[in-house]
């Protein structure tokens, strides 16, 4: 605690204020998994460039599709509500097979058995497919969540990104577990 030894009231007050802000801004204890993954999806959308024809207008919304258990889309919606990605609002949709064409980002939650079918629908469009099951990137998914020591990690399949005409920023690539195909 010695670093908080006072060197002036104003400074102590500023440090205390920062500590308070930090304490209330940083959630403590274990976080809900899908809330955290939704925040990751938000960041993925920030650091990925879609081809020009993917959006109707510069301020057209980014469609974030969620396939999976009920409740996951609600968790994602709660997390990204009211946020903008590169100036675009985010629209969260829950989808089943065959509805993935209009999606910019498709998150397949725990979809071991559904992944292949859903990916079929996304094949020829520029969808950023994100999964969370082992082997997802081998199926052609672009990003896959893994968990290590109860913390979220992700791996990126650059080949799949290229096929979908998506440009992934080098910053995102550098943070991925094993970037590459």
């Amino acid at each position: 605690m010695s670093r908080f030894v006072s060197q002036g009231r104003a400074r102590a007050a500023a440090l205390l204020g920062a500590a308070l802000a930090l304490a209330t801004a940083l959630p403590v204890g274990a976080q809900d998994e899908y809330g955290v993954k939704a925040a990751f999806l938000f960041n993925f959308a920030k650091f990925v460039e879609w081809p020009a024809d993917a959006f109707a207008a510069p301020d057209a919304g980014l469609v974030l599709c969620v396939a999976g258990a009920s409740g996951v889309d609600a968790a994602v919606q709660e997390t990204v509500k009211g946020k903008l990605v590169n100036g675009r609002p985010i629209e969260v949709k829950r989808v089943a097979e065959g509805e993935v064409r209009g999606c910019h980002l498709l998150f397949i939650a725990d979809g071991r058995d559904r992944a292949a079918a859903l990916m079929e629908g996304a094949r020829s469009s520029s969808v950023l497919t994100v999964g969370e099951t082992p082997g997802f990137t081998q199926l052609g998914g672009v990003i896959n969540f893994t968990t290590e020591d109860s913390k979220v990690r992700f791996e990126i399949n650059e080949d799949a990104a290229r096929k979908a005409r998506l440009k992934i920023s080098s910053k995102l690539l550098s943070l991925a577990k094993n970037a590459g195909s």
């Binding site: 209330t24 258990a69 009920s70 071991r112």
Partner: protein
């Protein structure tokens, strides 16, 4: 073993005290997460509650999951106490190291209708078909979750999962990396220390090793004397997980333990002249286990697993000593036939050998050593009958054991999801409890009295009254058969928003051939004069009965940093002895031995600066319980915990357990041990993680 009950006093009052703890600051919405950078997000620890909830939402059974967070914030320090958070479970602490735990009634020290597994290893003892709770311990911080299924889990888990299955699952080695050091100390908790270290060994192999030691104070007797039931134990072990290939995973884990579980014994040391012995029995417990599991996924929809384990338990008390070796092999395969139909099947073999040593005047087994073998197979089919609406699961377990031969346990379940966020399920199942070693082989003295007996003298011919001792004794019988159950269950789950959920389960259980004590054909044996065995009784199956009840659990987050969890359970039993039964006490004992109502309310509050304020109130209705019939009045207990995440690495907490009363009684005595009262316990804990 056997409960005696008489008399009836009925008091029922529901007293719930909801702790009022509100967060001082307005709660931060989860959208605060999007303000964090990716690097910061990668530093957050997550819980897979939603994932589990999704799997559980569709489960056609009364499932309750205790999470790692639930345990950490509950203020409980043992697995048996943590089970109090489950609706429908009877948890009663008998003395400082013994619990009577059962699901949906039939609670007693040697409750025999519950199957308990730790990481797939069965920990119930075939000696009495129950669990020695004092030797079931893990590093609680490394528990992934405890799944409790009330109702017959027969199809997948087999015989003895009659009223429920408890599955304690520890975290994978991958999720317990680095150093964990924890120290706990208080007035009843006289020191618990945990040290665990996890490391990555190769690209896809992880290992953890741990050591744990605890020392717990004795409780107090009803008349306020110090008990003899202190409890100490040291254990250590490891777990190694390896993802050999993309589709293969291997696990190897093992533990060793040694300790003492004290108790106060009253035993008959000699029949004639009749003498009793009261002494403190510091029962020595030691043992270990080694388990290996290999899982292989052929594809997204097919997989197989093979599991093998060895378990050794030694229990050395002054009245009974037991050493048991168990070896178990299990194989399981699941595959999808079509995209709406999947099959799971498996087979297993278990051999268990015991060597026991008893006391002729108290209890002993005939024969004193025995080997039991068990072969089982199961088959289950899951079909989506109407897409997104109706699922059927039909299956059966087939068992052969060398006590009762062949047993079949079929089960049929259905899941209906007509509306978004609602799940309805129903099940009909048959379950069987096969005889334990004690059911068929025990010779047990129930009581003895000094008296005088008439003896005929031939010359001169008259009758003389001579001192003798009469002993009531349970004699070994090999004719005890399996108990059987037909269970009918219904359930409803509603999860309209993430912050609120309700889970209700109801059941009607129809039991046959429950265990009773019946006199043998010639119940008086005077051949050992001056010791007269009278009456001689044996275990038989002359009781039928029905139980019914319901369990409710609800979870609500009124604001983001506050979570409330409420449970309620209701239980009734109507026992129906056979016409030729001479046992007047077992039936009423079951009817009164489990509480009619139970309720609990837990509140978890996240405060600013890393503080946590957690409270739990538990209320249990009155019962008559224990080997010697005891009236236990209804009681409520309160746990209060204040936790502080000082930094990312350091966590402090102060806990008051059973805080509102200096002592209270939960159960009568055990078979060879006096019961004691649970005391108020206050302790502090320091946990460091690197």
């Amino acid at each position: 073993m056997h409960s005696f009950h008489r008399g009836l006093v009925f008091v029922a009052a529901l007293a719930l005290a909801a702790p009022a703890a509100r967060a001082a600051d307005p709660a931060q919405p989860p959208s605060a997460l999007t303000d964090m950078s990716i690097e910061d997000l990668m530093g957050l620890e997550i819980t897979s509650v939603s994932k589990r909830e999704e799997k559980l939402e569709g489960a056609p059974a009364a499932v309750f999951v205790i999470t790692n967070e639930d345990i950490r914030r509950s203020g409980w320090t043992t697995i048996p106490d943590a089970l109090r958070m489950v609706p429908g479970l009877d948890v009663a602490k008998i003395d400082g190291n013994k619990w009577a735990i059962s699901a949906r009634g039939f609670n007693e020290q040697f409750a025999n209708k519950l199957l308990v597994l730790i990481d797939g290893r069965s920990v119930y003892t075939p000696l009495f078909s129950g669990v020695y709770w004092d030797i079931q311990d893990v590093v609680l911080e490394d528990v992934e979750r405890i799944e409790v299924i009330r109702g017959p889990g027969a199809t997948l888990w087999g015989a003895n999962a009659v009223n429920g299955v408890i599955n304690i699952i520890t975290k994978k080695a991958k999720d317990t990396q680095g150093l964990l050091a924890s120290a706990l100390y208080g007035n009843e908790e006289e020191g618990t220390g945990v040290l665990r270290y996890g490391a990555q060994l190769g690209e896809s192999t992880w290992l953890r090793v741990y050591g744990k030691y605890f020392n717990r104070d004795a409780q107090v007797t009803r008349d306020n004397r110090k008990g003899d039931d202190a409890w100490d134990q040291g254990r250590g072990g490891f777990r190694m997980d390896s993802d050999l290939t993309d589709s293969d995973s291997v696990t190897l884990q093992g533990d060793l333990y040694y300790g003492h579980s004290g108790q106060f014994n009253t035993e008959i040391s000699s029949f004639f002249p009749l003498a009793r012995n009261n002494f403190e029995d510091d029962v020595e417990v030691r043992g270990g286990n080694l388990l290996g599991r290999w899982g292989h996924r052929f594809s997204e929809t097919a997989g197989t697993s093979l599991q093998m384990y060895y378990d050794r338990t030694d229990r050395l008390g002054r009245t009974i000593r037991e050493a048991r070796d168990t070896f178990d092999l299990d194989f399981q395969n699941d595959f999808a036939l079509t995209d709406w139909n999947s099959v799971t099947w498996g087979t297993g073999y278990r051999v268990t050998r015991d060597r026991t040593h008893g006391t002729p005047t108290s209890a002993f087994l005939v024969p004193d050593t025995r080997t039991g073998q068990l072969v089982n197979a199961f088959l289950q089919n899951e079909s989506v009958v109407v897409k997104d609406l109706l699922r059927f699961i039909v299956g059966s377990k087939f068992e052969w054991n060398n006590y009762t031969g062949f047993e079949i346990q079929p089960s049929a379940r259905a899941v209906l999801t007509p509306f978004e966020s609602h799940t309805f399920w129903g099940a009909v199942s048959r379950a069987v409890r096969t005889p334990s070693r004690a059911d068929t082989n025990v010779v047990l003295s129930l009581g003895a009295s000094s008296t005088t007996c008439p003896v005929q003298i031939p010359f001169p011919p008259f009758v003389m009254m001579l001192p003798c001792t009469t002993v009531q004794q349970i004699d070994a019988t090999n004719s005890f058969g399996s108990e059987a159950l037909w269970a009918y269950e219904l359930g409803w789950r509603w999860n309209p928003v993430r912050s609120f959920s309700v889970d209700v389960a109801a059941y009607y259980n129809d039991y046959q051939n429950l265990r009773t004590l019946e006199p043998v054909a010639n119940p008086i044996d005077a051949s050992g004069f001056p010791v007269i065995l009278a009456p001689i009784v044996k275990f038989s199956n002359k009781l039928d009965g029905q139980t019914y009840g319901a369990e409710l659990t609800t979870s609500w987050s009124p604001i983001d940093r506050w979570k409330l969890i409420g449970n309620y359970s209701y239980f009734r039993a109507n026992m129906d002895p056979d016409l030729d039964s001479f046992d007047p006490t077992t039936g009423p004992g079951i009817e009164k031995g489990s509480p009619t109502h139970q309720a609990s309310l837990r509140s978890l509050v996240d405060l600013p600066h890393g503080f946590e304020f957690d409270t739990g109130v538990y209320w249990v209705d009155h019962i008559e319980a224990g080997v010697v019939d005891t009236d236990i009045s209804n009681y409520w207990t309160l746990n209060v915990r204040l936790g502080w995440h000082v930094t990312d690495n350091l966590e402090l907490s102060v806990v008051g357990q059973n805080a509102q009363e200096a002592q209270h009684d939960e159960f009568g005595g055990g078979l060879f041990s006096a019961g004691t009262d649970v005391e108020r316990s206050v302790f502090g804990q320091v946990t460091v993680r690197y």
